[in-house]
Symmetry: C2
Subunit: 361 residues, 2 copies
């Protein structure tokens, strides 16, 4: 017996066996005054899920339900909730807590709060319960991390915006992507495809940098103005110092990752942002690589609530369609979907659907 | 016999014997329409000189006269010169050529021009002559890289501003150092001392980060508002995410270089600028180091003509005094001064003086 409310979800029990999901009940935190209880309708599949359950980002508390691109219906709201109404269709992304009081939180930088907690795998200090993600029947979260989904966006397409989407949107808008600016997106996967969609919607000249030309047609279909394949000799030469912003979505900083080449694209004081977080995330840079253009190397962590709402509205206003493959959720389909994602066998994002069949209506 | 005009200077003949200077005549480029001919009065000693003559920055054409913090008198100016008048006291820094036509040059970014050339060690394409520096009787340079020195600044104190000074001034002003901003200067050497002087003059709250407290009194005397010694346990803890800008002057990225600690000082999207260029200049960074605050790592290359003039005026207007030890120039004194600089036995900059005794009046 447990003193806590329980939800039901698909959990991974061991990093050694991270593609095996087991459906079971788990405890959830007490319903707080600012909490929203959400019946989950669908959830996107994010590389973060894999980095977490395979131990690549470090040892985590298992068993764990991952999934942090959650869309569902607000069943009830706490007495102090003002941002969400019961009955609304809402989303939850990768973050579910920050102090909301520090300087960072007060400046729309709550994703950089020192006390931030992830939607899954974090420990609630008061109860010791571990936060659980969206491959589950329900989720209970503070209203600050619950976002109304505009009617114009189908749930399965909204889901991946809540982590992959915002991960690209925030660095684009914070680094000036817009009319008159030239943006390169390195890597056309789940993150990259949002990079192209957002950068175009924001009005920037948008290029894709990929290993080969295999995805060029897709990139053009998403709206890319230009496409560079690093397997072409001298691929960067005609483009040296012509970009304002390069956002990398690379999931691997191994030999194929041509950092010097990407940096060579940047105009004076241009910025290179690594939006991906490879499991072995070491980047070796030398001062001369930075001096040539006085460029900057940085990263970015999700995006603020304000940015999340802006992004969803931008998608709704512009009819932006994420490229999503829908997969009915089950222990077996989660296993096969994770395996496919590891092989990059996805164009360009998975959303687990049919939650009613798995968890009941 | 040579068809070129000749100057006289102290040259290094071999990277293996880079502390041996030999006085001899060398060819100089033909006097161009935009050139200024300068009789040198004094020249600062820069770590770049050592990195060049010892081969640490790569093999260079020797013999070579180094020295690129030059102050002297404009003896004559070419027929198209408008920026400098004959008879003026002027300075020359580390750069002596750019195309002045490209996008970078047209935007006050001539130090990032792809065709830039250094004051010493570069090859003039038309003649094949190698540019020679300021441990010499004269220098002949395009007016764009010749700067009038305000009367209020003594020559020996102006000299180190022309490389060390501008190397710190440009990243400070380009990254917003001013009232309401908090700036940390890592390392209190020749560069660092200018960092403190400029940051204070620009109105920023200015801190020094050093290995020990040995230089704290000097830092305070230069105007530093705070001082952190990395040998103090937990030195960075109370200061996490409180700085807007950290400028490193480190000449060595070895074990004592606590990059993660320096980055921890930065507030959201703060910038870490490496103004030094160590001979082994590899920086190993990991995405998590960057994600915590969304900070940026960058570098900087000298500063534009406009910035150079602004900096000299700031020094004149504020009575800013560089901390300079004057050394009469000779083959012997250059050798001993280079050796002292290598041991950081300098507070905080050397200027070679008494050129009339070495080269005649």
């Amino acid at each position: 017996m447990t003193k806590y409310d329980q939800y039901e979800g698909f959990q991974v029990d061991s990093a050694k066996d991270y593609t095996t999901f087991t459906k079971r009940k788990f405890d959830t935190k007490p319903f707080g005054d600012y909490d929203v209880e959400i019946k989950i309708e669908c959830c996107g599949v994010c590389s973060s899920d894999i980095h977490t359950i395979d131990g690549g980002w470090g040892e985590r508390i298992l068993p764990l339900t991952v999934g942090h691109e959650i869309v569902g219906k607000a069943l009830k709201v706490g007495p102090k909730v003002t941002k969400i109404k019961a009955g609304e269709r809402v989303g939850v992304g990768a973050q579910s807590y920050s102090c909301l009081e520090c300087r960072q939180c007060r400046n729309d930088n709550e994703t950089y709060c020192a006390k931030q907690m992830d939607t899954y795998g974090s420990v609630w200090p008061d109860t010791g319960l571990v936060t659980q993600g969206g491959y589950a029947s329900h989720v209970r979260t503070h209203e600050h991390w619950v976002f109304p989904i505009p009617d114009a966006i189908p749930s399965a397409l909204a889901a991946p915006m809540l982590c992959a989407g915002i991960t690209m949107y925030s660095p684009l808008v914070r680094n000036g992507a817009g009319p008159g600016k030239k943006v390169a997106v390195v890597g056309l996967g789940g993150l990259g495809h949002f990079g192209v969609l957002w950068a175009k919607a924001l009005g920037a000249e948008t290029w894709v940098v990929s290993r080969t030309h295999a995805k060029e047609a897709d990139a053009r279909a998403m709206g890319a103005d230009g496409f560079l394949a690093t397997s072409d000799g001298g691929w960067n030469e005609p483009h040296r110092m012509t970009f304002d912003l390069v956002i990398s979505t690379a999931n691997d900083f191994g030999p194929g990752f041509d950092l010097a080449g990407y940096l060579s694209l940047l105009d004076v004081h241009g910025k290179f942002i690594s939006a991906g977080v490879p499991e072995d995330s070491k980047l070796e840079i030398t001062t001369p690589m930075l001096i040539a253009s006085g460029c900057f190397i940085g990263s970015s962590h999700l995006g603020s609530r304000r940015e999340m709402l802006e992004m969803l509205q931008l998608a709704a206003d512009n009819g932006i369609k994420a490229w999503v493959e829908e997969v009915p959720i089950s222990a077996e389909s989660l296993s096969s979907t994770v395996k496919r994602l590891e092989k990059n066998d996805v164009r360009y994002r998975f959303t687990m659907v049919d939650y009613d069949k798995a968890f009941g209506a």
